[in-house]
């Protein structure tokens, strides 16, 4: 009987409501039952059409299942939002001198305050043949606004990389060009004698906070400089943290680049220890830190190596304490380890901010 009604609904019988009522009128039941039956008629209608709608819906849903309401985060590009994924060495400046063409290269084709890897491509101007195994030096000199001459931590004698046919080195620029004029002096020694070229360069504000640097006067009244070397592009992971630690040699009295010891004004800090405590500065992170970090110690190449664990992306502060050979604190303070939601954690006197 009910099937009957359904068939009629399917056939779109408009008189259904009427007939539904009609055969209930004959029923000897009371008005309550009658009204319920009426309700039932409406419900059955609703159910049937709803069912049809569900069916269409479900079919549509099948199509939609692969698409979710909110897209998943693209983790690879998430990591590129702050630190661009660009490791290409580009030309900073080109110098033609005599029969040589010297091309100075750095990341993004720019020099920034802090640590910069420097590459020199030297070719024979006409044949474009690379000059191999030459003795090449590189020296940046800053003339400050006051007119004083300064240099910076720097690899003076460049290393030749046979495979890539480049001369490699690095410089830690201590100031941006707004604080004075930077000039680089390159010398090349070969069978024909020594070639010297000078070129003004621009040092820009560091864009990658993971290559930030800091300079300070230690408790031994010496001037120090710590520059981050790696990772360029940290990950939410265990990261090898590399820093260059330099000391300004106070016994070196050279005043200009003509003095042969001028290049040695900054010396590598040997056998020091850099204690590390990374924390998130954002107040809501409540002085959040990470486990399994390792203090930085010096390796054969002179740089300091340690481990920093970043538990999530965002702003981080690397809190440092610099110890000398004897274990004396040169700079830096212990930071509180309490979890203090809503309150920004205290930073060490010696710190570098990073961001990725």
């Amino acid at each position: 009987m009910y099937f009957d009604i359904f068939c009629r609904i399917i056939q779109g019988d408009r008189t259904l409501e009427l007939s539904n009522t009609a055969y209930l009128v004959g029923d000897k039941r009371n008005i309550f039952v009658f009204l319920l039956s009426k309700l039932l008629g409406v419900i059955s209608n609703t159910i049937f059409f709803t069912t049809m709608r569900i069916f269409i819906w479900i079919v549509a849903m099948f199509m939609l299942t692969t698409a979710c309401t909110i897209d998943k985060t693209d983790f690879e590009s998430e990591n590129n939002t702050v630190v661009p994924d660009d490791y290409e060495f580009k030309e900073v400046v080109s110098i033609d001198k005599g029969s040589y063409h010297i091309r100075v290269e750095a990341l993004h084709g720019k020099l920034y305050k802090g640590y910069n890897e420097i590459r020199l491509r030297i070719t024979e101007a006409t044949t474009q043949a690379p000059i191999q195994e030459g003795k090449v030096t590189f020296l940046p000199v800053l003339t400050t606004l006051e007119g004083n001459k300064e240099t910076c931590p720097n690899q003076y004698a460049l290393t030749y990389d046979k495979a890539e046919e480049v001369y490699k080195g690095f410089s830690v620029f201590t100031q941006e060009s707004t604080q004075g004029d930077w000039k680089i002096t390159i010398t090349m020694e070969d069978d024909n004698g020594t070639l010297t070229v000078s070129q003004p360069i621009a040092v820009e504000k560091q864009v990658n906070k993971n290559l930030n640097m800091t300079s300070f006067i230690g408790s031994d009244t010496e001037s120090y400089l710590i520059a981050l070397v790696a990772p360029l592009k940290p990950k939410v992971a265990e990261n090898e943290l590399v820093a260059a630690i330099y000391k300004l040699d106070s016994s070196n009295t050279a005043v200009g680049e003509n003095d042969p010891t001028f290049k040695d004004k900054y010396v590598l800090a040997e056998d020091y220890t850099l204690l590390l405590d990374p924390r998130m500065p954002e107040p809501s992170m409540g002085n959040h830190s990470s486990p399994h970090n390792k203090d930085l110690v010096q390796k054969e190449d002179g740089f300091y190596y340690g481990i920093v664990n970043y538990t999530m992306t965002g702003n981080w502060t690397l809190n440092f304490i610099l110890l000398n050979k004897a274990g004396l604190i040169l700079k830096g303070t212990k930071v509180p380890t309490d979890f203090t939601p809503g309150v920004e954690g205290k930073k060490s006197e010696l710190f570098i901010d990073t961001l990725f």
Partner: protein, 664 residues
Amino acid sequence: MVMRILTTLLILGYSTAVLAQETKIKQDSVSTVLEEISMLVEKKKKIETEMKMAVSVDEFLASSEQISFIKRGAYAWEPMLNNMSTERSTLTIDGMHIFGACTDKMDPITSYVESNNLSTIDIKSGQEGGMHGSTIAGSIDLKRKTTAFGRSNPWAGGYQTGYEFNNKQFFNLANVSFSGKKLAGDASIAYREASNYKDGNNDEVKHSQYKKFNTSLGLAYKTSELSSVRLDAIFDVAKDVGFPALPMDLWLSRAIITSLSYKQLFEDQFIKVWDTKVYYNAIEHYMDDTTRPENLVHMDMPGWSTTYGLLSKANFKQGNYSSELQLNAYNNLSIAEMRMYPQDRTERTMFAYSWPWVTTTYAGLSLNNTVEFSEANRVNFGGSIGVNYNYSKYVDFNWIFHPGAPQEKTRFLPSLHANYEIDVNRFNFSIGAGYGHRAPSVSEAYGYYIYNSYDRYDYIGNPDLKNEISNEINASVGYKDQRFSLQAKVNYFYIKNYIIGRILSLGSPMNYQSVGVKGYTSLDYATLFNFALTADYHILDNLHWKGNVTYAKGQDNTKGNLPFIRPFSYNTALHYSYRDFGIQTSVHGDLKQRDFSPEYGESLTPSYTVWNASIDYTFYVNNFKAVVQVGAENLLNEYYSTYADWGNIPRMGRNIFTSFKINF
């Protein structure tokens, strides 16, 4: 009683839900076989409780003495089987594995079905529940409604509506089924909407509202006299669901659960039924804290869980021997993100994965055998072997706490069980033992700073956790005569490498509410003891009493208490029917939680008693059975919270409910 039903199910090995109507088309062999089966599983439970005929899936599960709940609000309760949380049990829908997409367990899979698309819920305790995959606590299988072919009345359906006054819950549930000679189908649709509920002090419990829409469709086509194919789909959406015990609510969760199955029946052969199913389900779950302005940090916490699977089972029977063989394979990808926003929104957001794209692939073969020595005594025995493979795509996250942990991990998960049952006059006895392994869950192995608002710790998974190994014994004694039955059941689990969170001295919390970091570690062992006594007495033909008490004790290796172990609980219910009226009343409660676990964040929960009562009236409209019911839960408006209420959130106060149901 439950054991008996389950045994029957096991012996048959195959169950299908057929509407209780008798079919008269005897010449149809498929329906004949199905009918025979349906006759034998006639004792299947309807989705309603003694007290209430229109219940949610959670409320229905709560009526089983083996199930307790962790409640984080009014919605999506996490079922605990044998006092063990969902990691230790297998939760399936028709044998299909589905995994929630929320790291805070806001979406146990029971929240993705609705009572009107289920026919029954099959609960098996311990290793007996290992047919669908490795387990410790047992299995909870939600069985969907399936209509057989060739029913005399091709169309059938039902409609339920109701209103609950406490939280202004209004629900409408409708379902229809069609049964033709070649084609059969079921469809259901349901919508529930509730506001905040009020506790026993008539105070509103903020953030306890919810909206849920659920619909399902199943279509079966008879491909031959003895075979059929069936396509099933469930679509579920929950929106604006409050979780008062958590610092966040749910903005949207959506699940699509689909399967395609092929069933072949065999006549006069050792193999009786072969049923193969491929399935796919996808869940998305988006938390929302914009409704909680008091939160210090705004966070986005979306989660996704996608599962593909294959299930193939065959039933064999020869003389007094019958067995079921089941192959299970699935692949799940669980992803959960968290993105914290700094107070200065122009600053860089902070991002991490709480589930770093974790893949779980499982394949297992399970066998269960029954030998009936006589009608009065039989033995069940079986076992399974499974391979569980995990892969963490962004393993860097796991390396922060566990440097050098493997990115991939393969585990072998064996299990064995045996049980002997004997009936002596009116008594029945059963004794059994089991042994089984389970792999750690995604959160336990690969979770990353998952905030647990119960003990207020951030939890870190450990990919190197050992398999949890359960040794289990169980026994039951029952007495049954025409009017009275009594059944006592005990089980005891000795679980090696019991996985639990322990405070780490490493790292610091990430979520601002937390007080520290806990890492999942393995205890040497833990023990769990469960006892249940159920009694049933037909005092008069129309006066029926039921009662049960449960007791459980869980201890770790230092005799400290385990968390979430239900204290002594009791339930007594009386049902009286007079003509077309039914009157029922029940009292249930827990005693004081003596054995709480301060170490795991628990505090003493006082005892409580709740009294419920309801009355219903059955009448016929054109031979369609209709029932109206009015009742009240927590009549005395007791203010209470249970041992497993997250954050000691008070339960609902007095709730008057009304419902109406009609079947046609």
